[in-house]
């Protein structure tokens, strides 16, 4: 049985690197990534599991890191927005104007990356179902939808 009582030394596998750190068992993954590992790409928005600005991948599945404990994901592969540099989805968001203020963008990118990885032929309905997990208050979503379609084409034409 794994048990963490007070401050706990844990090892997280983040973006392919093993990182040792000391956390409180009550620390959320979002806070640990930002404040202990300096990975500030994922943003604290609502911290209530609603807005999706903090989305990360755990074993390839997008989850909201504000509703996960860091101690819960030891031994699992965590990917943050920092782990997605030089990917088609990142280029597409820049080219298609998929953001304005940019606060929600890391969450959208991570979620869209997972979508296209798991469903390269995702249709509009599936894209909408996945992307309903993220809120944007600037773009009206049109640029985001265009970015995802563009990334989908780029991936197919690799």
């Amino acid at each position: 049985m794994i048990e963490y009582k007070e401050f706990a030394q844990i090892e997280l596998n983040v973006n392919g690197e093993k990182r040792k750190l000391i956390v409180r068992p009550a620390d959320t993954l979002l806070r640990v990534l930002r404040e202990k590992l300096g990975l500030t790409g994922g943003k604290p928005g609502c911290e209530n599991g609603d807005c999706g600005a903090c989305t990360v991948l755990v074993n390839g599945k997008p989850i909201k890191s504000c509703i996960a404990l860091a101690v819960e994901v030891t031994g699992q592969e965590i990917t943050t927005i920092e782990g997605l540099s030089n990917t088609e989805i990142q280029d597409a968001f820049i080219e298609e104007g998929g953001f304005q203020c940019g606060y929600c963008t890391p969450g959208f990118l991570v979620n869209a990356y997972a979508l296209l990885n798991e469903h390269p032929d995702a249709d509009e309905e599936l894209s909408k179902e996945w992307l309903q997990s993220n809120l944007c208050r600037c773009t009206g979503y049109e640029g985001i939808e265009k970015s995802i379609k563009s990334a989908q084409e780029k991936i197919k034409n690799r």
Partner: protein
């Protein structure tokens, strides 16, 4: 940030989990069982919930069971809703789970968390309530298997120190005709104003409701009225609604009158759909 500390335990067996609960309870740590943690974390952050220790059940193999065995479909309490939807052993169950929360929350939210949480909707229980499923519960006194109709009355009836391990559904219910109608106020990612889940078995309707009243329910009396086929559908629906076991609620999403109107419409649609009659 969660503004208080708690201990974290991840047992590997049912016995380890229940013994850990007993031990932590004796130490006055007010332990709680932890599945996906989505509700526990948000409520802890808001200080609506407090605990000195959480017991994460995700490493217990029985809680992650997801298979067909000996004519039964077995769903572990620690399965995420996404896992249930994607494996799709029971399409009616998948359909009801699909609109709960949103996709990335469903990647974390567990069956046990949805059914045993404080939020009053508990929608994942609806299809399980209308088929002859059995719930496996474990506590300091051992493991027991209880018919869902006895184990669930608006909430899962757990004894102190017990947790929900898994639910077993007879495989043959997969072929029953089913109906599900969920209505939200604004967007599909929202709590339901009403959610009806029904099956037709041996020419009779079995129905469960969420969102309509303060808590989810299944009512034999309501079903008796709906199944009086000698009456016209509108009268069956009207009589059934008059016999709901809990008052129709009103809140910021809908008035009780609006909920009632949606309920009438949806129940008429259910009859039309499952009896093959036109409205």
């Amino acid at each position: 940030m969660i503004p208080f500390d708690f201990q974290y335990y991840r047992p590997d067996t049912i016995e380890e989990a229940t013994m850990t609960f007993k031990d932590l309870d004796a130490k006055k740590l007010s332990p709680i069982y932890y599945g996906g943690g989505t509700e526990i974390i948000t409520q802890a952050r808001k200080q609506v919930l407090s605990t000195g220790a959480v017991i994460d059940i995700k490493n217990i193999s029985e809680c992650k069971m997801h298979e067909e065995s000996d004519g039964l479909l077995i769903f572990g309490a620690a399965l995420t809703l996404t896992e249930i939807i994607e494996k799709n052993l029971f399409p009616f169950f998948s359909k009801v789970c699909r609109p709960i929360a949103d996709h990335t929350v469903r990647n974390k939210l567990t069956l046990g968390g949805n059914i045993c949480g404080k939020l009053p909707y508990r929608e994942a229980i609806l299809p399980l309530l209308v088929v002859d499923s059995k719930v496996v519960l474990a506590g300091p006194e051992g493991i027991r298997e209880v018919p869902i109709t006895k184990a669930f009355d608006k909430r899962l009836l757990l004894k102190k120190g017990e947790f929900f391990v898994q639910i077993k559904v007879p495989k043959d219910v997969v072929s029953l005709p089913y109906f599900n109608r969920r209505r939200e106020k604004h967007t599909s990612v929202d709590y339901p104003i009403i959610n009806i889940a029904a099956v037709k078995s041996e020419s009779k309707f079995k129905m469960a409701f969420s969102g309509v009243s303060a808590l989810p329910f299944r009512s034999q009396e309501v079903e008796d009225f709906i199944n009086k086929k000698e009456l016209p559908p509108e009268e069956r629906v009207s009589n059934a609604i008059n016999k709901l076991p809990l008052p129709i609620k009103r809140d910021q999403w809908a008035s009780s009158e609006y909920r009632k109107a949606l309920l009438e419409k949806s129940m008429n649609e259910m009859i039309a759909d499952l009896e093959g009659v036109s409205l």
